[in-house]
């Protein structure tokens, strides 16, 4: 195999715990009520285009994204709109959502529900972007950036590589692994569509080496597609960070404060590629996604195909309910995910996993003083200095914090994971980052 490619700075290797990797994707039975938030993406939330009492079908537009960076929201069920209300979501706060009482499973007529794989497409770049926008596709890697905006390359810049993130570097999560095994061909067609949409000839798929079956499957299938290459990567966190992935695959470094397009790359998750295939070839908007439900104390784990808006408690019940010793339920992965405040919070476009942790697994370590060991600096994949950033943030020295390039921090958590003194580095950096972000925004005004 030779030496595996990887990014150059820092990184850690937490235990992989991919206990759910052999669970075939199952469809979660549809809930009786769904709560579809209007804001499921980075950028502005959508505006509701239905009202109380309206009957909706699966795939129907219920929220229109009006700002430049925003996305459409579609109904994932058929039934009647019960109300539009503020509900607790994965952010820990209440936000507007469309609540629908489910009745049957009637889809819009123009959506192709067949499972046969459709290869050919003949849309041009502008049409592809339009379909992606219309169908509400956002980045399914977790950042939920509206995909059509990512494909709109700004004037003066050119993309020469499409990079596909099949890394899934977060421990425990296996949703992407399963779709690469079970829907490999559709993913590759989605990638071809993306290549056309972006106007590039080459696409590189990065997959971490702990998924040899997925690497084999996609490598085999990729032979039929022009310009798509599969590259195994070293198992290192955060290999799936877009800047790390670009460095590993094409050895280019994204300059501080800039986006990947600056070095001619656009990065998309494999799940997004699949959603784009379904949008273009099957006319299907983003209404469901694969979510990993896992945890060491569960009777069984699962990779579930879930309709957007399903409350998290239904996923937990499917695997036998939360065990008595459950301490936290995390939305996302253990490194960058966030604990839920309520199991009523609905699954949204960015929910990649629901993790149940035992009480003893969730105990936070005791915080002591910094011992100046420098380990946090050595593991930071962005080459920043977490010890100083956390200190400046705690002491509200925001000018110094900005000089430390805190805005380049990808919040991966490697520093906090490594700190021998148990200091909550990432937590303080996050507070500082949001303050500095506000200062920068106010400066621009």
């Amino acid at each position: 195999m030779g030496i595996l490619k990887t990014f150059s700075l820092g990184g850690i290797h937490p235990p992989e715990n991919k206990i759910s990797k052999s669970e075939v994707i199952e469809s979660l039975p549809i809930s009786k009520v769904v709560y579809i938030p209007l804001g499921q993406n980075l950028g502005a939330p959508a505006k509701a285009v239905v009202k109380r009492g309206d009957e909706v079908k699966v795939g129907q537009l219920i929220g229109k994204g009006e700002a430049f960076i925003s996305a459409n929201v579609h109904s994932s069920v058929s039934g009647k709109v019960k109300k539009i209300d503020n509900i607790v979501d994965t952010s820990g706060y209440k936000h507007p959502a469309i609540v629908i009482d489910v009745d049957g499973d009637e889809w819009l007529e123009d959506i192709d529900r067949s499972t046969d794989v459709k290869r050919d497409f003949n849309l041009d770049t502008a049409q592809i972007i339009e379909v992606i926008k219309e169908k509400g596709i956002v980045g399914l890697g977790g950042a939920t950036f509206p995909s059509h905006v990512k494909l709109m390359v700004p004037d003066g810049k050119k993309a020469d590589y499409l990079i596909i993130n099949g890394v899934e570097c977060e421990p425990y999560l296996t949703a992407d692994h399963r779709i690469m095994l079970e829907r490999g061909e559709e993913i590759l067609i989605g990638i071809s569509i993306l290549m056309k949409g972006l106007g590039v000839e080459k696409a590189l798929i990065g997959i971490e080496n702990n998924k040899p079956d997925a690497i084999d499957n996609l490598s085999k299938l990729a032979k039929e597609f022009k310009g798509i290459e599969v590259h195994p990567l070293k198992v290192q966190y955060p290999q799936g960070g877009e800047k790390q992935l670009i460095k590993a695959l094409v050895n280019r470094e994204v300059p501080s404060g800039k986006l990947p397009i600056e070095v001619g790359c656009v990065v998309n998750n494999v799940g997004t590629a699949l959603a784009i295939y379904e949008a273009v070839q099957k006319n299907k908007p983003l209404i469901e996604r694969v979510v990993t439900v896992t945890g060491k104390s569960l009777k069984r784990t699962a990779n579930l195909l879930v309709r957007i808006g399903t409350p998290a408690k239904e996923l937990v019940e499917f695997v036998g309910g939360a065990p008595d010793d459950t301490g936290k339920v995390v939305n996302g992965g253990p490194m960058m995910g966030k604990a839920l405040v309520s199991l009523d919070a609905p699954i949204v476009k960015g929910s990649s996993g629901i993790l149940l942790f035992k009480e003893e697994e969730t105990k936070r370590v005791e915080v002591t003083n910094c011992i100046r060991c420098g380990k946090c600096i050595s593991v930071c994949p962005m080459g920043l200095e977490p010890v100083l950033m956390a200190q400046f943030s705690e002491n509200k020295m925001f000018e110094n914090l900005e000089k430390e390039l805190v805005m380049d921090c990808i919040e991966c958590g490697s520093c906090q994971y490594t700190c021998p003194a148990g200091r909550p580095l990432l937590d303080y950096i996050r507070i500082g980052k949001s303050k500095v972000g506000n200062i920068i925004r106010n400066r621009r005004k």
Partner: protein, 312 residues
């Protein structure tokens, strides 16, 4: 031998004298002529350098006053009216007397009123807890009780009451505004101390609809508007399901406190009311709920303050 010593001493002395003379002339030529009033004003100020005036320290405050030759919008909250009068005399201007203010905590979601529904175990700073979720009680506007305000205070004027989990302001408060800025939920407000130190305020900043707010906290403001209706001085406005009492219009008549159905409006430092004869129709309103928590718990709070000093 002696000659060398004499030469050494004389030449060194000569260099010293020459340097002194040169320095003297340079000091005269490059002398910074500052208005001597700046020094006088600075001396009159409390030297806390707390930033409560909005300037970077007492010297900066003094410089701005003297350079602009104006007292417009300038106020030292720590020194108060006394100090501002002295400053006004030094610069020979009139000063508008500002009412003394104090920090007011506009939340009464204590452990009993707003019970915990979830547990937070992250870093003990309100800023972070605020970014993660509504908080342990579920109220998205309520006090998180982790003490960012206490950290910010330079005057030991605010402490968290360990029984209620809420901050309490004592008489050390000079209304510098540091706690107001520190609170991520804008719960603390600087309000006039009031005649005889009496004040009335709505102890809630929740903007959710009444029914939703009450689910999380039993003493929330539900925006019913009864207070606004009963106020004879137009001092109360209801906006976003929340009542607000304008301190400039409020005449401290306490009618609003009586009609508030949840007990969200607080009256501080008033004498106890005479019990009204209860009518058959009306349910008696429990007026003891109306007093702010802090008033009766000063002993506990002082104990907590001492503990903090011991811990330091």
């Amino acid at each position: 031998m002696d000659e060398i010593i004499i030469y050494a001493v004389v030449s060194l002395a000569g260099i010293g004298v020459a340097a002194a003379v040169i320095l003297f002339f340079i000091a005269q030529k490059f002398k910074v002529i500052e208005d001597p009033r700046i020094d006088s004003v600075e001396e009159a100020l409390p030297s806390a350098n707390c930033g409560g005036c909005g300037f970077a320290g007492c010297r900066a405050f003094a410089e701005t006053i003297v350079k602009n030759n104006s007292l417009e919008g300038m106020n030292c909250p720590v020194g108060g009216a006394e100090v501002m009068k002295v400053v006004a005399e030094i610069v020979g201007l009139e000063v508008e007397e500002k009412l003394p203010e104090i920090a007011v905590i506009r939340c009464n979601g204590n452990k009993a009123n707003a019970p915990k529904k979830i547990e937070y175990d992250g870093p003990t700073t309100c800023a972070y807890a605020h970014s993660l979720s509504s908080g342990e009680s579920g109220c998205p506007n309520g006090c998180l009780g982790l003490g960012d305000c206490v950290e910010a205070c330079d005057f030991e004027a605010i402490f968290i009451n360990p029984d209620t989990g809420l901050p309490v302001v004592n008489d050390n408060c000079v209304a510098c505004g540091a706690c107001v800025v520190a609170c991520p939920r804008d719960i603390i407000e600087l309000r006039p101390r009031g005649k005889k130190d009496r004040r009335i305020f709505v102890s809630c900043v929740n903007t959710e609809k009444g029914a939703v707010a009450k689910k999380n906290c039993s003493v929330a403001c539900i925006g019913c508007g009864k207070c606004a209706k009963v106020c004879n001085f137009d001092a109360i406005t209801i906006k976003n399901n929340l009542a607000y009492i304008d301190p400039e219009k409020c005449k401290l008549c306490r009618k609003c406190v009586e009609v508030c159905p949840t007990g969200a409006i607080h009256e501080l430092n008033f004498p106890a009311r005479k019990p009204k004869p209860t009518k058959e129709v009306d349910k008696p309103i429990d007026l003891t709920k109306r007093k702010a928590v802090g008033e009766n718990d000063s002993a506990k709070v002082n104990k907590a303050a001492e503990k903090k000093n011991d811990d330091k």
